[in-house]
């Protein structure tokens, strides 16, 4: 987010809660994400009035109603476009986009791509539950092949999109992953906020009604060590209590898992995580769970100038030395004056 604009403020979790009754299903992963965000905001230290949550349509998109900030619950898939106009109108605002796999990758995939490509300074939280919840359980663009749902009673046949890979492919300069009940989620959110530019966070979220426990294979507390790879800048990519790691197969140009003996990860060829390494980031987002652990945390973080800063800069440069003399503008170009004697240039 924008450092020149941060209005520091000491707040508590309570300051970020609205008086509105939360209307998600009991047990929904969204509750955990909401709490994580409300808990993180005081740590970030921004002012609620300077913060805007913008959402599209879907379960996740009810989020703004529950944050004591400014909020705009817009239309399906278009939150990035509203955010773009708002940020250009007032670059000082701290904008969080809340979207889902259907909202952000299906109906709104186009806008998500362009927001990321332009690098608008904002945080994009994409709640991925691999299902359409609010419309009662149809399969989504991230649903796994074979997902049975009201619209795919014989199982879905189309291949799922991979949100993090999509974001990176669209030119993202920050890509992170977390999941709803993870204790690490606030740290991921803080890193996203600290990144100046479009920060894309895929948050795996458990839809307990229509796609229950679909992420349990890696998110379940039991055995999490073996199935989760939490990436930390400057640290080796280790998991399973340091007994396994991720290395590069230099001949085949892909990642592989290796066993680490006696903690000697260097000998095993385990890579040290460099958040600015875009090539490795591409491999991390493509790592298939099962064969590999699930890569979580900040996968990639390498800022570059933001869209709104460039727009402001260009507007300023183009205005330099010019006065906003509209009357003068009206008579710019080829004019003529009509007098009693007739027209003349």
């Amino acid at each position: 987010m924008n450092e020149m604009t941060t209005i520091a403020r000491t707040t508590t979790l309570k300051d970020w809660e609205t008086d509105q009754e939360v209307r998600w299903c009991p047990g929904c992963g969204d509750y955990a994400i909401l709490k994580a965000v409300q808990r993180t905001m005081p740590e970030i230290g921004t002012a609620p009035e300077n913060t805007v949550f913008i959402s599209g349509i879907g379960c996740s998109s009810r989020f703004p109603y529950y944050m004591e900030t400014y909020g705009f619950h817009t239309i399906h898939g278009r939150a990035p476009a509203f955010a773009t106009g708002l940020k250009l109108a007032n670059p000082d605002l701290d904008i969080w986009i809340v979207t889902g796999d259907g909202d952000g990758l299906s109906i709104g995939g186009n806008h998500t791509m362009h927001l990321i490509r332009r690098n608008l300074d904002c945080q994009i939280m994409l709640f991925n539950n691999e299902i359409y919840g609010l419309t009662k359980g149809q399969y989504s663009p991230t649903s796994r092949v074979g997902t049975t749902s009201p619209s795919t009673p014989y199982g879905s046949v189309d291949r799922p999109a991979q949100p993090a890979a999509f974001a990176l492919g669209a030119g993202a300069r920050f890509v992170a992953r977390g999941f709803d009940v993870s204790k690490e989620l606030p740290n991921v959110l803080k890193a996203a906020h600290a990144h100046k530019g479009a920060a894309f966070i895929e948050i795996f979220q458990n839809c307990i009604v229509y796609n229950k426990d679909v992420f349990e294979d890696f998110a379940a507390p039991k055995g999490a060590e073996d199935r989760q790879l939490w990436l930390k800048q400057g640290e080796p990519m280790l998991y399973a209590k340091g007994t396994k790691g991720i290395a590069l197969d230099a001949d085949e140009l892909h990642l592989k898992t290796v066993d680490v003996v006696d903690g000697d990860w260097e000998a095993a060829g385990v890579i040290v995580h460099d958040v600015t390494n875009r090539s490795v980031a591409h491999m991390l987002v493509e790592m298939r769970f099962g064969e590999f652990p699930m890569a979580l945390g900040v996968l990639y973080d390498d800022p570059r100038p933001t869209f709104e800063a460039d727009v402001v800069r260009q507007n300023k440069a183009a205005s330099e030395g010019k006065t906003a003399d509209l009357q003068g503008l009206l008579k710019k170009g080829q004019t003529w004056t009509v007098t009693e004697g007739g027209p003349e240039l």
Partner: protein
Amino acid sequence: MATAVEDRADNRQSPLSDAVVVRFAGDSGDGMQLTGGQFTLSSALAGNDFATFPDFPAEIRAPQGTLFGVSAFQINFGSSAIETAGDAPDVLVAMNPAALKTNVPQLKPGGLIIADEGEFNDRNLAKAKYDANPLDDGSLAKWQLLKLNISQLTMDAVKPFGLGNKEALRCKNMWTLGLALWMFDRDRQPLIDWLEAKFAKDPNLAAANVAALNAGHAYGETAELAGPLKQHHVDPAPVAPGLYRTLTGAEGIALGLVAGAQLAKLPMFFGGYPITPASAILHHLSRLKEYDVTTFQAEDEIAAICSAIGASYGGSLGVTSSSGPGIALKGEAMGLAIMTELPLVIVNSQRGGPSTGLPTKTEQSDLYQAVYGRNGDAPMPVIAARSPGDAFECAIEACRIAVQYMTPVMLLTDGYIANAAEPWAVPDLTSYEAFPVEFLTEVPEGGFKPYGRDDNLKRPWVKPGTPGLLHRIGGIEKEVDTGHINYAPDNHQAMTDIRKAKVDGVKVPDQVVELGAEGGKLAVVGWGSTFGPIHQAVRRKRAEGKDVSHIHIRHIWPLPANLGELLKSFDKVIVPEMNTGQLKTVLRDQYLVDAKPVNKVSGQPFTIAEIETAIEGALA
């Protein structure tokens, strides 16, 4: 058009006796639009009133010599008020066989054809699907024909400059312009100045073009005695003293939007997506950054309007613009702007539809879309511009309504207005009343209600970033006053009623009668760019003693409060429109009047004669 001031009353003289219509037609690459534009300027400097009609193909570089690649520019200029680009040309300049074939049917009997016979070769004749050369086979006998080898004459004129063949031939349009300048007794110097400025980087090319211009002019002088070529002088039109410029509709809209934002004391945010014929507005505004204008070329039409709404939410005046197909895509977002009650101006430069339709041709067939074309009960003010100059006024009016009522407003223009040029008396901006916006910045007495209302039923505008007024808005039904989510039956009824009452209550000026009496045998009711032909036709019929009046509606929604009574004061009402009868339906619905449709959907504007015929039919 609108510059004439002394021609309001009935004019017993035939109003077009002192006006001339010239049509330049050629291949897309022949520079006809440029020729027409410069001839327009010379008409302005000669003091003539004028109206123009650029008519060009949708293809950017259509194959040379083809019928669908013909580009034409028509100008009507005269010594009295000119309000249309003219029904039928008096003079047709045809730069190739295809241009002749597509344009000669409209030429007045006895009118003059100037044809570049150098281009009437077998290849071009075949492309234009001529079996025989029309210049030689007598098929053009009902017109006067002047065959000139303009190509060769141009080549000869620019020979000293050593241009390549292709470059030399590109000076043809200047040769033609030179001849046209001579025909109408025009001063060449402003055009020479313009050429020298245009080609300042290549003085040789400038000199070649000037030579071509002079050669065309000289040809007229020397050839006068032989053949049909005669010099005409058209006297200046009586025009109010003042400063003038030419203005296209796209320029009128862009400048009016800037003026509107300034009068509202707001920065403007314009979200657009390329579409014909609306793109010109985006192009104009993108050069006006020093006027606190931010332009954003979005990834699609939907993002264009959504970004504009986002900017309005942030305290800018959000504006978006498109043409019919793009407006259709924006529909859902318009509903959100209505629901969240944020100001927004949506400009629709209408074109021939449905679907892709006729992108470069004009039509008025989006009125239903503007007034009714959204899901739910979604009322929205709609304004229609009648001319380029009027587009400036309408854009200001749209901005005013948007901010004074916190509502999206649709401004309708069309392809004809967008591209046509007219002389425009530069207005004095100090004569416009400002309507500065006041944002709510602190909790008012009685507490903050995001959906509380003033006398206009307008809700407060709060910019995010304002302490103490945090709130959430969205597309789900709002609770009265608080703006919280509320699905209760009574609340939805109340909110629907409020949204309707707010738009119904938008104050618009009473409807005036443009020409003729208030009440009588026949009212001709129009809107938008049909103003010119309707006005001229009504003037002519009144000159013949017919009881007919012209009413032209700017405020399509809500309609002026006195309109129903006014319409009922006439025995008959006809509604000429470039659609199948859309305003007619609205008038019937609103006032139970027997409004009769007069329709044309050919992609071309009405001619005066067509409206005259309709008037005669209604009075018969």
